[in-house]
């Protein structure tokens, strides 16, 4: 049985833990709001880019001379996986779920006899994957999220790297892994193919094809497509970064909320135990005094 002094110091330490977790929760909540706004503000651009590209892609079709980013290299031997995680932990299953999804995919690809290359955005992902796939990591980025949130230029850095690798023929298919933000308590690990470009569903494409007949292109479909496709890579990566950061703060907020509540429960339990043993001690002393008095 723990002594009263031990119990007192445990209660004090759990109390200070609770202070820390509740402060982290507040910070995460305010960052979440900003990250969520940024993610929502970025959606119109990505959406319009998507519809425009879908229209162009159907117009150009898979003609010869279609850009490589659209048509692919004709092989799928080497896969590049871009993984978006956080730089920091203490955010529940956020990092673990994305790392797990990546690991599953990478293992499946290796089992099929394909080569896997990885780009890790965020320190935690690189740390978790380097034991198994250390030799496959071609690049890593950390400190993406600065004081003022996420900058488009950091997304273009990653995008440029991906494009440069593609130009050099280093990989055939590129997929990005990130947590899609649904709500503060729910994030979905998502895999999205980036290269070659995949348009929206076939039905929508047909619709787009029906309207595209009347469009004029200046300078030409191919030239616009050649300009737009690389840009789309950057935009998609930017979108993934924003979603991932909103998810991170959401996950951290709910993880810290749970931790604060657990700490509260623990303090209650420890206080009851403390009070009981204090009472037991007092009762014992009284019994000793009374029995001592009776013995006289």
């Amino acid at each position: 049985m723990a002594s009263l002094k031990d119990l007192r110091s445990r209660i004090a330490s759990v109390k200070s833990t609770r202070k820390i977790t509740s402060a982290m929760k507040m910070v995460a909540a305010s960052k979440l709001r900003r990250a969520q706004d940024a993610a929502e503000a970025a959606r119109p651009y990505a959406e319009r880019m998507g519809t425009m590209l879908g229209r162009l892609a159907t117009a150009v079709g898979s003609n010869e001379g279609a850009p490589k980013l659209l048509a692919g290299t004709g092989k799928d031997n080497v896969h590049l996986l871009v993984v978006f995680t956080a730089d920091r932990g203490l955010c529940g299953g956020f990092n673990a779920s994305i790392v797990k999804a990546t690991r599953l995919k990478a293992k499946a690809l290796v089992a099929e006899g394909k080569t896997v290359k990885l780009i890790c955005v965020g320190r935690k992902g690189a740390d978790a994957l380097k034991r198994e796939f250390g030799d496959n990591i071609v690049a890593r980025y950390t400190g993406i999220e600065g004081k003022k949130g996420i900058d488009f230029s950091s997304a273009s850095d990653v995008g440029d790297k991906v494009l440069a690798l593609y130009e050099e023929g280093e990989f055939d298919v590129c997929t990005i892994f990130y947590n899609k933000f649904v709500s503060a308590i729910s994030q979905v690990a998502t895999a999205q193919q980036l290269i070659p470009f995949v348009g929206e569903e076939a039905a929508e494409q047909e619709e787009a094809a029906a309207t595209s007949a009347v469009y004029d292109y200046e300078p030409s479909e191919e030239a616009i497509l050649a300009d737009l496709l690389p840009r789309n890579v950057g935009v998609q990566i930017f979108g993934a970064m924003l979603e991932s950061s909103a998810s991170e703060h959401g996950a951290r907020m709910s993880a810290m909320d749970n931790a604060t509540r657990n700490a509260g429960d623990m303090i209650d339990r420890l206080s009851i135990q403390y009070n009981r043993s204090r009472q037991a001690q007092i009762t014992n002393e009284l019994i000793e005094i009374i029995s001592g008095a009776e013995a006289l």
């Binding site: 880019m49 425009m52 130009e167 004029d216 616009i224």
Partner: protein
């Protein structure tokens, strides 16, 4: 009431503008083009330059864009810009600094990729200065 077309100006980080305008002049890669209501549908790339928004027959607003792409249809004109700043907010010394940096980068650029990037930055800086001087 005069006819209007909806101008949507979108940058990667935000929807900057979505409002009806009488006419807008866009710096296309193959030359400037004006967009009036009921313009025939087209898609064009944009070079770094200035978008002029007209109201009442006069230029009411000038916005600098650093390239992008525009989609025009009879009801709206959507511009996806990489970077968009009102001309009034441009600073001459910042543009000059950008020009110098781009020139230096171009000298140092070793790979074709770096070179292309530096050239693009140079074009943007030149267009900014041009936008400020007239």
């Amino acid at each position: 009431m005069t006819d209007t077309t909806v101008l949507e100006l979108v940058s990667p980080s935000a929807l900057l503008k979505s409002e009806p305008v009488e006419m807008v002049v866009v710096p296309g890669t193959d030359g400037n083009f004006g967009v009036l209501p009921k313009h025939s549908p087209m898609i064009s790339t944009i070079r770094p330059g200035v978008i002029d928004i007209y109201a009442g027959g006069k230029v009411s607003e000038r916005i600098f864009v650093a390239g992008g792409v525009a989609e025009v249809n009879p009801e709206r004109c959507t511009i996806l810009a990489e970077e968009a700043v009102p001309v009034a907010d441009l600073k001459a010394d910042e543009a000059q600094a950008r020009l110098e940096k781009a020139t230096a980068d171009l000298k140092e650029a070793s790979t074709a990729h770096d070179k292309a990037n530096a050239e693009r930055a140079l074009d943007i800086a030149r267009a900014q200065i041009a936008a400020l001087t007239n």
